[in-house]
Symmetry: C2
């Protein structure tokens, strides 16, 4: 196990940079402070001797920099400078855009996702240089400003900047430890498509005494949503599984060998029984390898105290579908429409929301991953869980498939960091350990003697 | 057609009484001003020479008065002095508890439901006396204070006061005209049972990347609710129809002969197509003779702008079930529980809400109804629609089945009166006509020469 803290100068610089970035409220959802934050990120890269440029994407600019070392491999870093909205702002214990240290953690919107990870990467390079001199490998940065709204311009950006982004591997935007403080990494991301369903049955709510002759939007939406999954929860949309590549024996064995988490997670989340009684290997295979359809919300009619005999005229539901490699998000969206039509729900509208990303999974036999596993084990003192893909979703597909690079997650997160919610924070010990794990990964991957 | 206005003295007195009653915010849901309003009602009855008493019920008191005329029949009047909450108070154009006249209508909470109907009854008696001298028939009042919360103490009250309430017929709490200004009456009420469904799948909302292993409360509730009706909307609960008496040929013929309303109502409500394409006689049979299950509301998870990839841990739905004669509301509630258990929804709780009333329908061949029909036709100049029962629900069962009296609806309402909502109002012309129709009914029923 290596030392477990950054030097005080490196740590102080990272916190100072994070303070500057958090102060810039770069909320992608409303386009707030996006150009200024891109400039601030470029300024920080410039302080470290990189030569950043802002690339127009049609949306928020990408901050790009490329440092070549002739004859040496190049590491691509994917991060983002945009953040989620700070709502509900009254639920924060300190101002969301003012980095505040308390109880061993740094609080602020973006402190964890993803500004903290970005300053950690730069702290890792500085530490590497302090130990070994100039970087013996190339570095390329792709720091986008639309991750929190589904990276709508990223795939096209990657395709048109393929040459500037060519690399031998990609350090993904996050990583960290699980609920047991075991390091976790991953070699891909699930895909995602999000839609809203909407139905209107009249131009006003009716008294429910009309319920035997008039349609009830709340019931129609419940029935439409229920039709999308079988009684056991399996997605029932015709064509949903089209294109899925069956996991091979090696992948199944890799997943089966991951540490068991379901007992501890059930306790943490207050879950009495996992879906369909899942446990052990079946639980892990479902989490990492199965696609799903989630109802993020459903709303119609009365929700107050007691009874109100109303027949609601309008209902909405929000769905996300988590995809595995081979599924096409646009085809899945079309399949929802066809399913609803076939099942008598022609009146239910399907409105695309911001996400439509295919899944991507790197080849776990790439030596890239052996370096990551060893770096994490040496830093944390326990072997990491290397997930074939995160159960979460992200724009990994253009990296793995257009650029042809493996992606790996190493970083400073933990499950309690409240990303996307009030009181988002980065634990200072995670900033130390995640950065040191990154340094160790750079050493192993670049073959520097240590 | 008789004269179409009350005398100015009678009208002024009715409005003044309504002003006093509306000023008393007798909201049953929170028990506000209940005893004072009962006293105010008793005071008004006393002004008219009745001898009211307040009967304890275990809840809000019943205002009761009985005026006997030996050897003559007795008319029972059922009304209520409680009202719905005034929320949302900001949506009112004048204070809810301050009777305000504008544009030919009297605005205020309870102006229509049911304080306006109560003062109309008393104005009808005064008009009758001014025309014919002392009432030649007995009168009994049952004015309760819990109608808006499902009349929980009424059935027991009626059973224990059967003697005080004995009568030959009952004038029900409301009546009026339909959207075409045609008078409507009815001879019964549907029943109702209301429940809330609740499910919890974890002790916090999860990130939806757990959706392939963790249950989603929004989906489970959608599936549970959807299971309660077949694809065509028919209630699918085993045992739901137990006890229903099939309508006989006379009843079907009566319903089929009612005026067609569905085209005009579809236009009013902005409905493109009634449930399952219902029209004509099938529409009327469904509206008056079929029971149903309505989803008054369903709520879970995210409902804001765009996507939020959350797995909600909690979901609720509110249901009302409209019952027809023969169905037992408590047995129906039990059948919902059994249905959910049988369909794998043991985790969905069924919480009884305030309503559990059986339906009741009077015998349409009772001469009582011929008098009502003639009184309405003479007053309005068009034949009324006499519904075998209102599509709405009310505590008619103890009247029809414990007291053995027919109930008939005559009153001052119209479909736009916004009862239960902001800007509830009583049109002044409905107050005139509804009261005069009541006078004419009293004349015909009591056999006074006119």
């Amino acid at each position: 196990m290596s030392e477990d803290r950054l030097s005080s100068e490196v740590y102080a610089q990272a916190v100072d940079r994070l303070r500057r970035l958090v102060a810039s409220p770069s909320v992608a959802a409303d386009g707030r402070a996006i150009p200024e934050t891109a400039e601030a990120v470029a300024g920080i890269l410039r302080e470290d001797g990189f030569d950043p440029v802002l690339h127009d994407t049609g949306g928020a600019p990408v901050v790009h920099a490329r440092h070549e070392v002739p004859g040496a491999p190049t590491l691509l870093l994917y991060n983002h400078y945009d953040v989620q909205p700070e709502d509900p702002v009254e639920a924060w214990d300190s101002p969301p855009f003012e980095l505040t240290e308390r109880d061993g953690a740094l609080y602020g919107r973006g402190a964890a996702d993803d500004k903290g990870e970005l300053v950690s990467r730069l702290a890792a390079f500085r530490t590497f240089r302090e130990r070994h001199g100039a970087l013996p490998f190339g570095v390329a940065f792709l720091i986008e400003g639309e991750e929190e709204i589904g990276s709508p311009h990223l795939p096209e950006y990657v395709r048109t900047h393929r040459d500037a982004l060519r690399a031998d591997g990609c350090l993904w935007e996050f990583g960290g430890v699980d609920a047991s403080e075991r390091p976790v990494s991953f070699a891909g991301m699930k895909g995602i498509v999000t839609v809203e369903l909407h139905v209107r049955t009249a131009d006003r709510d009716l008294h429910s005494s009309f319920g035997s002759v008039a349609d009830d939007a709340a019931w129609r939406m419940s029935a439409a949503v229920a039709s999308l999954r079988d009684a056991d929860g399996t997605v029932a949309i015709e064509g949903f599984r089209d294109g899925i590549e069956a996991p091979d024996a090696a992948l199944l064995a890799h997943v089966d060998a991951l540490p068991d988490e379901e007992v501890e997670l059930a306790r943490t989340f207050g879950i009495e029984r996992w879906q369909g009684g899942l446990a052990g290997a079946a639980w892990k295979r479902a989490l990492y390898l199965e696609p799903t359809l989630n109802v993020n919300g459903i709303h119609a009619g009365y929700g107050g105290e007691g009874a109100k005999t109303v027949l609601p005229c309008e209902a909405t539901a929000k769905l996300d579908l988590r995809l595995v490699p081979g599924q096409d998000p646009v085809a899945v969206r079309d399949a929802i429409r066809r399913h609803l039509d076939r099942h008598g729900f022609q009146d239910v509208r399907v409105i695309p929301l911001q996400h439509a990303e295919p899944a991507a999974r790197s080849d776990l036999s790439d030596p890239f991953f052996a370096h990551a596993v060893r770096a994490l084990e040496e830093t944390y003192g326990v072997p990491p869980a290397l997930q074939p893909n995160s159960p979460g979703s992200g724009p990994a597909h253009p990296f793995v498939h257009d650029l042809g690079v493996p992606i790996v997650g190493i970083g400073c997160g933990y499950p309690g960091s409240r990303i996307h919610g009030p009181n988002e924070h980065l634990r200072t010990r995670d900033l130390h350990r995640g950065t040191l794990a990154t340094v160790r990964f750079l050493e192993l991957w670049s073959g520097v003697r240590t």
